[in-house]
Amino acid sequence: MNLFTQSVISGLMTGAVYTFLGIGLVLVYRTARILNLAHGETFAITGVAAALLAGAGLPLGAALGLAILISLAFATGLHRFVLRPRAEWPAGTLILITLGAAFVVRGVLILLAGTDPLSFPVMFEGPPVRFAGGAMPLQGIALVVLGFGVSAGVGIFLAATRAGKQLLAAAENPYAAELLGVNVERARITAYAIGGLLGALAGVLLIPLIAVDFQSGLAMTLRGFIAAAISGMSPVGVLFSGLGLGLFEAMVGAYLGALYQDPVMFCVLILVALWQSRNIRFGGSRRA
């Protein structure tokens, strides 16, 4: 077995997870100006729901479909019934509301699923693909392809399509967008729906490779947040920051030891935060 190849494979898979979760956070942040700490809950909800439904005898496809719908309902419901009526509140308070929502989900999931981890079968079965002394499961390939592919799609959608630009405009200045005929509310709920869908997809693809439990949500949010923060909340940047984080984690794990992963990785995060904020002056506006 070739350790380097395997590290790259592992890094790609881990990076896809970072990106998958990061892009959803970026999307909601860029359209609704909210750092959604309940984002990872869509991952946990999907996983727990799919595992329970599949366990109850539903065919896997149906269980996954239903689970994704539940997760979508959560993501859009959070916006529609909780955040939207409070759109005028300060950003910090809205962040805390999403944290509260994450806590509530955690409380519900422990009641439904107990404390044991759950999982469900992979969608892409078959022997792993082997090359250059490494092995990659089919589900892992799907995770990498969809993770980076979908995230790139979202990035392109935001930067290059009319609907994407409307979404960005709705975020930057909802009042102006509304006066120009943009249905801001629909733009926002679309963002939450896409975000929820991405979290759910990440769950569907990743959980068969690991497991999920009641407290997976916040951990996944944090993972996405790290990627998003390093990218400077940029929909294109998060592709690279996610990939970089994944490779970094795999390489450190392989050659340095997992114990040093966090101190090094988060020192980098602090440095990146410093670098990114260098051009922001007091009051939050960018320097001309």
Partner: protein, 381 residues
């Protein structure tokens, strides 16, 4: 300072609390107060809830029979959320309220925080292999220690003429203890150890496995418990590794089997006390008790008991023996009693004045998953 004008409201609230009907319990009949510190939420919730199920079952059964030595048991379970400060608050309160026994159904850091509190009693029962209480304390461990478990693995390797092992250990406390035991035991036994740590957040263990599971390695050991263990097993399968994989005692459960049944490595082994496979227990008494517990538990909770339940059972059996002594509150006497009397359980516990660990490596077996049940492991070729 009008922001802080809270004084009168606070006084009023306090008065309201004072005037509320004081719900002091009437001087009820004497009971055995027993405390349990267990993580029911937080990262170690799996362990805490499983041990708690056994403790609860024991209390129900004992009280249904009219209690022990004529007294009913009053169990207080305190959720420490796997935080030492909570564990300390829980344990201190239990001691204050006159708990005769405390079940330390918690993990390493919490247990290390509670231990000093029982310097002069009550008895602290510990079903965790990661903490070895000193023989001068009132702490008693009903599980084989992590060193014992590692020794059993070493025995197994030697019996199969294997002199190299690959090990994946988490960056948490169990991994830390596991690594220390492995270095010591495998070093003593001249078994080459190849080691990789894995972060708790990891969603893939393939680099770790790639590092430790070379073609020269005949057996891989994962000391990981819980969700992380599943990641290791699944990565193992994905890499298509052919070696037998040994998982730690915490994974010898139905829940784990359900999670890995589709992704089982060619051979999945595990560590555990023999009671988990009653058929191979030599002592007929131990065998009968194990069998009886497995059945009773399955009936009560409609699920198969696992290793952690079994260790919980060992703890409640010791507790029952203590309550049957003439004066369970005479802690020095109880300590002497435990140090001199074997306690029959799913495995007979033999504490001594030199060791407060009731079981040793001889009680540990290497099991293997066949179908959906764990049986004694076959040799490794």
């Amino acid at each position: 300072m009008r922001k802080f004008a809270l004084a009168r409201p606070a006084a009023l609230a306090a008065a309201a609390v004072l005037l509320a009907p004081a719900a002091t319990p009437a001087a009820a009949q004497e009971v055995w107060r027993i405390g349990e510190v267990a993580p029911l939420s937080g990262p170690a919730a799996t362990v805490g809830t499983r041990l708690n199920k056994v403790t609860k079952m024991w209390v129900e059964e004992a009280n249904a029979k009219g209690g022990i030595a004529g007294r009913k048991i009053e169990l207080t379970t305190c959720n420490d959320e796997n935080k030492p400060e909570k564990a300390v608050a829980c344990a201190r309160d239990m001691i204050e309220k006159g708990a005769v026994i405390i079940f330390g159904n918690a993990l390493t850091a919490s247990l290390r925080a509670i231990q000093p509190l029982v310097k002069s009693g009550p008895i602290l029962l510990i079903p965790s292999p990661n903490v070895v209480p000193g023989a001068d304390t009132y702490g008693f461990q009903v599980s084989p220690s992590d060193v014992d478990i590692t020794e059993a693995i070493a025995e197994f390797l030697k019996a199969n003429k294997i002199d190299k092992i690959g090990m994946v250990a988490a960056t948490d406390a169990s991994g830390e203890v596991g690594v220390a035991s492995a270095r010591k035991v495998f070093g003593d036994e001249k078994i080459e150890l190849r080691l990789a740590r894995i972060d708790l957040r990891a969603t893939d263990a393939s680099t770790q496995l790639a590092r430790v599971a070379g073609s020269d390695i005949k057996v891989v050991y994962s000391s990981y418990t819980g969700g992380g263990a599943i990641t290791v097993v699944k990565s193992f399968k994905n890499l298509g590794l052919a070696q037998p994989l040994i998982v730690s005692y915490g994974n010898i459960s139905d829940a784990f089997v359900q999670l890995v049944k589709d992704v089982k490595p060619p051979r999945l082994l595990g560590t555990g006390v023999a009671g988990i496979v009653p058929e191979i227990v030599k002592d007929p008494g131990d065998r009968a008790r194990s069998q009886a517990f497995l059945e009773a538990y399955a009936k009560r909770y409609a699920e198969r008991p696992d290793m952690i339940n079994l260790l919980g059972k060992a703890a409640v059996d010791v507790a029952e023996a203590i309550l049957k002594t003439p004066n369970p509150k005479d802690y020095p006497a109880v300590k002497t009693f435990l140090e001199s009397t074997p306690i029959p359980s799913v495995h007979t516990q033999r504490f001594s004045a030199k060791s407060h660990v009731g079981l040793d490596a001889s009680s540990v077996i290497i099991v293997e998953l066949k179908g959906e049940t764990w049986v004694k492991a076959d040799p490794v070729k």
